[in-house]
């Protein structure tokens, strides 16, 4: 009998405490009540939190960092990325994608695309409230939906943003130095009309 009563005592203590212990808003740190009133109340987002990938561009959506190298599509474990490289009028490949689709119904949020990308062009977003009215088409995200500015990345992941900007700046400097050191390559022939 004593065991049951002791258990009930603990339950009662917690029951009372949950009403009187204060809890900071948007936090689970203190207090008895641990239920958060989502969506009015939200926990602060963790910087490393990852959900679905997005494509990054620096100033305007046309000059995106992605060069359609297809590495992320090859490394993606469930193969949810589909890329088609863009061509110019002569049919020569350009360094940007024409089609970049990610099937969010297949994506498993592992973050391997972000790790494998050599151009820092794809990153994991914090957006988790993704939904659609049906099961297939609305959850296949196309390039226009995936493109987000670098400022968005700076907002959600400030530490990573600083590190990546630093790395990109160094790479650009190195490239410029290399270009100056070497004699200018002969100008490419104008395309035959």
């Amino acid at each position: 009998m004593f065991g049951v009563l002791r258990g009930m005592g603990i339950t009662f203590k917690n029951f009372v405490a949950s009403y009187f212990l204060p809890r900071k808003p948007n936090s689970l740190e203190t207090g008895g009540m641990v239920t958060l009133q989502y969506p009015e109340e939200r926990l602060p987002e963790k910087e490393r939190f990852r959900n679905f990938p997005f494509l990054i561009y620096d100033t305007k959506p046309d000059d995106l960092r992605c060069v359609a190298c297809d590495i992320c599509a090859k490394e993606c474990p469930p193969k949810c990325i589909y890329i088609v490289r863009d061509n110019d009028e002569q049919g020569r490949p350009l360094k940007k994608p024409k089609v970049f689709d990610i099937d969010f119904t297949v994506c498993m949020n592992c973050g391997i695309c972000e790790e494998a990308c050599p151009f820092d062009a794809i990153f994991m977003d914090h957006e988790f409230e993704v939904g659609g009215p049906e099961r297939q088409q609305s959850l296949v995200y196309h390039m226009d939906q995936l493109l987000k500015p670098a400022t968005h990345f700076a907002k959600i992941r400030p530490t990573d943003h600083v590190a990546i900007e630093e790395k990109r700046r160094k790479e650009a400097e190195k490239k410029r130095a290399a270009a100056q050191a070497q004699p200018k390559p002969p100008e490419a022939k104008p395309p035959q009309a």
């Binding site: 009998m1 004593f2 065991g3 049951v4 002791r6 258990g7 603990i10 339950t11 917690n14 689970l28 641990v34 963790k46 910087e47 490393r48 939190f49 990852r50 590495i71 090859k74 490394e75 474990p77 498993m108 949020n109 592992c110 973050g111 391997i112 790790e115 494998a116 050599p118 994991m124």
Partner: protein, 379 residues
């Protein structure tokens, strides 16, 4: 003690518990034959969640399977990562830096705490203590999952370990928060035990129910807390001493009877040992690199990682038992053979022996005490 089944001159009643049944912890079916309320035969039927895990891994780069291992036993993704990373490291003979070893052990032990508190909560759910104990458990679990989210980016699908180290270093100040959780955990365990351990109803329902004898546990190759509750002194952390476990002090709690109550008690005691391990590790954690530089080069191109020809079996003491990964490499970027020794699948094989002669309600708690996760059973 167990009532002998009394056979009357009637037909047996066949009942399907599952695949959609609140007690079965997932899509698992028990085909039970009843004589009155007493079980005379029980056939476990699994495979509803079969996802072709091994075959998928054989068509993928070695790193590509790492996020899939998260989804085996989705309560303990860090332990699953750990087992797979150990297997590949053995296969390719990779050294792991000291700091990474320490962080791995912290993660594995935190995972054990998460698993054991929730499994006890679910066991009490099965007993009919509907959702009171489990919310106590989930309150603690949530704190640890928050830490996981901060470190690895995801609460449950961590995908944090890499061959030869870790994906990222710990963010600043997270160690202090882990220390705070570890310090507060014994207090929570005392409260949890006050709620449950001496409760007469729990004792009545659990003691001498579903006894697993020592010999059966050994011959059916049962591992983990379930074997230790039957007195089998088998803990891979002690036997293999993998990672840094051979340097750490901890004891292996053993049960005497092997009933449901012992399995509950073993888990409580193991959590206390885990807290002890965590205290030691957190005190000694060194600074340094978190990944072997040789393997860090493959981060940008996982497909170029080709282990030499050979085979390896890496195993860890996962919270549910011995989790082993058997890999055969033919020198290509994909494993030629990938096999998982899933502890909850093998522990489930003795379910019929444990249940025969008991009532239907006991079968539910026996299943709960085995601690299965269907993602792992049907991998």
């Amino acid at each position: 003690m167990i009532d002998e089944p009394v056979l009357h001159d009637t037909d047996t009643l066949e009942v399907n518990l599952g695949p959609q049944h609140p007690s079965t912890h997932g899509v698992f079916r028990m085909n039970v034959k009843l004589e009155g309320e007493t079980i005379v035969s029980l056939k476990p039927i699994m495979g509803y969640l079969h996802r072709n895990h091994e075959q998928i891994a054989e068509n993928m780069s070695y790193l590509g399977s790492m996020p899939y291992t998260d989804r085996l036993d989705y309560f303990n993704s860090m332990s699953n990562n750990f087992g797979y990373a150990l297997a590949v490291e053995k296969l390719a003979n990779i050294e792991v830096p000291e700091r990474a070893q320490y962080i791995r052990v912290i993660m594995a032990e935190l995972t054990r705490l998460v698993n054991h508190v929730s499994v006890i909560g679910f066991l009490l759910n099965d007993l009919g203590a509907f959702f009171t104990p489990i919310l106590y458990a989930f309150r603690e679990r949530e704190k640890i999952l928050d830490i996981f989210e901060e470190i690895a980016g995801s609460r449950m699908m961590c995908n944090y370990l890499r061959f030869g180290g870790l994906k990222l270093d710990l963010p600043p100040s997270v160690l202090d928060r882990i220390k705070k959780i570890v310090q507060g955990f014994p207090k929570f365990l005392d409260e949890f035990e006050g709620l449950l351990t001496k409760n007469e109803i729990l004792c009545m329902r659990c003691q001498n129910v579903g006894i697993l004898p020592y010999d059966l546990a050994v011959s059916a190759s049962i591992t983990g807390p379930m074997a230790r509750a039957s007195g089998v002194n088998y803990d891979i952390r002690k036997i293999d001493g993998y990672s840094i476990y051979n340097r750490l002090k901890f004891r292996v709690p053993l049960g005497k009877v092997g009933d449901v109550y012992d399995r509950y008690m073993i888990r409580i005691l193991e959590m206390r040992q885990s807290v002890w391990i965590l205290e030691q590790v957190l005190k000694e954690i060194p600074e340094g690199p978190i990944i072997n530089p040789k393997m860090a080069a493959f981060a940008k191109a996982p497909r170029n990682f080709k282990p030499p020809k050979g085979e390896a079996y890496g195993r860890v003491e996962a919270p549910k038992g011995e989790l082993g990964f058997y890999l055969v490499s033919d020198g290509t970027p994909q494993p030629w053979r990938y096999h998982v020794r899933a502890p909850s699948f093998i522990n489930l094989t003795v379910l019929e022996d444990l249940c025969i002669g008991h009532k239907v309600a006991d079968a539910i708690i026996i299943l709960g005490s085995i601690d299965i996760v269907l993602g792992e059973v049907d991998h």
